[in-house]
């Protein structure tokens, strides 16, 4: 286990030195701009607007990092051959993968937490007080983080067997598809046999459902989110990540490197 953490720590350090965290500057500017705009709009909707905007930004920035950095975790090491000296250590390949994953998730956690803090700061500066309902935004941020974990896992898996560009496209595509997966269940095209419909229904459960993590409406209006949903989303993410990372580990463990 500790070997995984050694890799993780280094991956985190790499992200920091790669100036990934500079995105926080952009986010800060965005929050300031939105606070100013919101100040000109009528009362009572500040929470709604800021939370919606803030969560959208956190999600989008997080996704960009998750996809692009996630794909690069493995492919960059293979291309640059930095991997060779690392694998010469008493380190199993799956430990290496898991370490990289953990490192990026750690980076994203720090990044997301910083953005959440920025969001709350902006909200406070506009409203001058925070109510209990605002805490729902924290749950929404947590869900975004869960979503990012799954995206990173997928990005890593794809980058183990396709080129970096394809991996980015596949991961992005799967994410977008995952937003509409629920629609598959109720898909009713004309002349569709019961079997095809069943197939689509099954597919709708097996494909990663990214809509699960979308609670922006509830957060914007300060409506509470049930604890069991939090628990189940967490379990869903953990399980799906485990599946995806296992597949990635198997592929990576047999891969001839350059």
């Amino acid at each position: 286990m500790s070997r995984v953490l050694i890799v993780a720590r280094n991956t985190f350090r790499e992200a920091v030195r790669d100036r990934v965290l500079y995105n926080l500057v952009f986010f800060a500017l965005l929050m300031i701009a939105s606070a100013v705009i919101v100040g000109q709009v009528s009362m009572d909707i500040e929470t709604i607007v800021m939370v919606s905007l803030g969560l959208s930004a956190i999600s989008l920035i997080g996704l960009l990092i998750a996809v692009f950095t996630g794909v690069g975790l493995v492919s960059k090491e293979i291309d640059k051959r930095t991997l060779h000296a690392v694998l010469a250590r008493p380190l199993r390949r799956w430990e290496f993968l898991l370490g990289k994953f953990t490192g990026l998730v750690l980076t994203l956690t720090v990044n997301t937490a910083a953005m959440a803090a920025g969001l709350f700061l902006a909200m406070w500066s506009v409203k001058h007080s925070l109510v209990r309902g605002d805490a729902v935004a924290l749950v929404a941020v947590y869900f975004i983080l869960l979503k990012l974990m799954l995206v990173v896992a997928l990005a890593m898996m794809f980058s183990c067997f396709t080129s970096p560009l394809l991996a980015i496209l596949f991961t992005g595509g799967l994410y977008v598809a995952g937003l509409f997966v629920a629609q598959l269940r109720s898909l009713q095209l004309t002349q569709m046999s019961a079997h095809t419909q069943k197939f689509f229904s099954i597919l709708s459960y097996l494909l990663p459902n990214f809509e699960n993590y979308d609670v922006m409406g509830a957060a914007a209006h300060g409506r509470a989110i049930s604890r069991s949903l939090v628990l189940h989303n967490t379990l869903y993410t953990a399980l799906y990540c485990a599946i995806v990372l296992s597949v990635a580990a198997v592929i990576f463990s047999r891969k001839d490197l350059k």
């Binding site: 930095t82 010469a88 001839d256």
Partner: protein
């Protein structure tokens, strides 16, 4: 006693050509051993299969057939990396780290505690001549400096066995001398060293044994001297010749200029007759040496043969 490194029929084939239907063999049935405590040189032209073999041993690529063991354990057992140091060819490390950080990172995997790690890292940097560059990021390093870092990370954990892929590449003569000294030092400390090179003089001076690979096959294994055979190619006489005269001109005609002096090659049988002739010409003998075939000759012959064979193979489409 088990050898430090052993391979049996190690083979590597790559899918090749359109739709990956053809197979390209980059290593064929390699069977060899490297004994404990010896320095073994892997010799061969580029593309011969040296790097392939080393990568197979390090688990970077996987064999199509055959097997290999290091320190008694199969190469798939990564735990034995604890006792191995590896220097990749064209090493490249995380360029956002400093030399000290890279060494520290690698050292962590071997379970050293912080204080010991720090000490070792400093020691290694001194040993490879980088003690002033410890805090500089690797992205600013020259190729030669990276090579030194590579060597440092291979020995930072004091392994029993070293596998070095082209350790001299990218170094100037001073650097190469330093690396040679380090290798000798390690050898004297009882380490087993396997290194690949295409610089023959290094192999001749450093290795206990040498394995010659060409075209994916092992062509010969043995002490550098024994490979090329003890067959002498004759004697070389270097002498000084001044003056003129019929006798002197005769000698001059047989010899070739060698700087300010002359050189003459004769068979061993003819040696004394030639010396007499030179005495008659009042030549001053400077040196008489035996001409031994070098590894280079052996090499060139081998490569020549290979190229001819390879051409034939291409045509037949095998």
């Amino acid at each position: 006693m088990t050898a430090a490194i052993e391979t049996q029929n190690l083979t590597k084939q790559y899918p090749h050509g359109f739709l990956h239907l053809k197979r390209k063999t980059s290593l064929e049935n390699l069977t060899m051993q490297v004994e404990d405590g010896e320095v073994f040189g892997f010799l061969g032209p580029n593309g011969a299969g040296k790097s392939t073999t080393i990568k197979l041993l390090m688990g970077i690529i996987f064999p199509t057939a055959g097997s290999a063991q290091i320190l008694g354990k199969p190469v798939s057992d990564v735990s034995m990396h604890q006792d191995i140091g590896y220097l990749p060819e064209q090493p490249y490390f995380y360029d956002y780290l400093t030399a000290a950080e890279v060494l520290d990172y690698f050292a962590r995997f071997h379970g050293f505690r912080a204080a010991e790690r720090k000490e070792r890292v400093q020691k290694m940097l001194r040993k490879v001549g980088l003690e002033t560059a410890g805090k500089i990021q690797l992205r600013k390093f020259s190729k030669g400096m990276l090579q030194r870092v590579g060597l440092a990370q291979a020995i930072v954990h004091d392994p029993k066995l070293l596998i070095l892929d082209e350790p001299m590449s990218g170094l100037d003569p001073v650097g190469r001398r330093e690396v040679r000294d380090i290798i000798l030092e390690l050898k004297n400390a009882g380490k087993t060293i396997l290194f690949s090179t295409h610089i023959l003089s290094d192999a001749e001076t450093l290795c206990d044994r040498v394995g010659v690979i060409a075209g994916g096959q092992l062509r010969g294994v043995g002490a550098p001297g024994s490979i090329v055979g003890v067959k002498s190619l004759g004697m070389e006489i270097i002498f000084e010749l001044t003056g003129s005269g019929a006798q002197i001109e005769k000698v001059r005609a047989k010899a070739t200029k060698f700087g300010a002096n002359y050189r003459m090659s004769v068979s061993e049988a003819e040696l004394y007759a030639a010396l007499e002739e030179l005495r008659g010409a009042s030549a001053t003998i400077i040196s008489v040496t035996q001409i031994k075939p070098t590894l280079e000759d052996f090499f060139m012959e081998l490569v020549g043969k290979d190229r001819a064979q390879a051409a034939a193979v291409e045509v037949s489409g095998q």
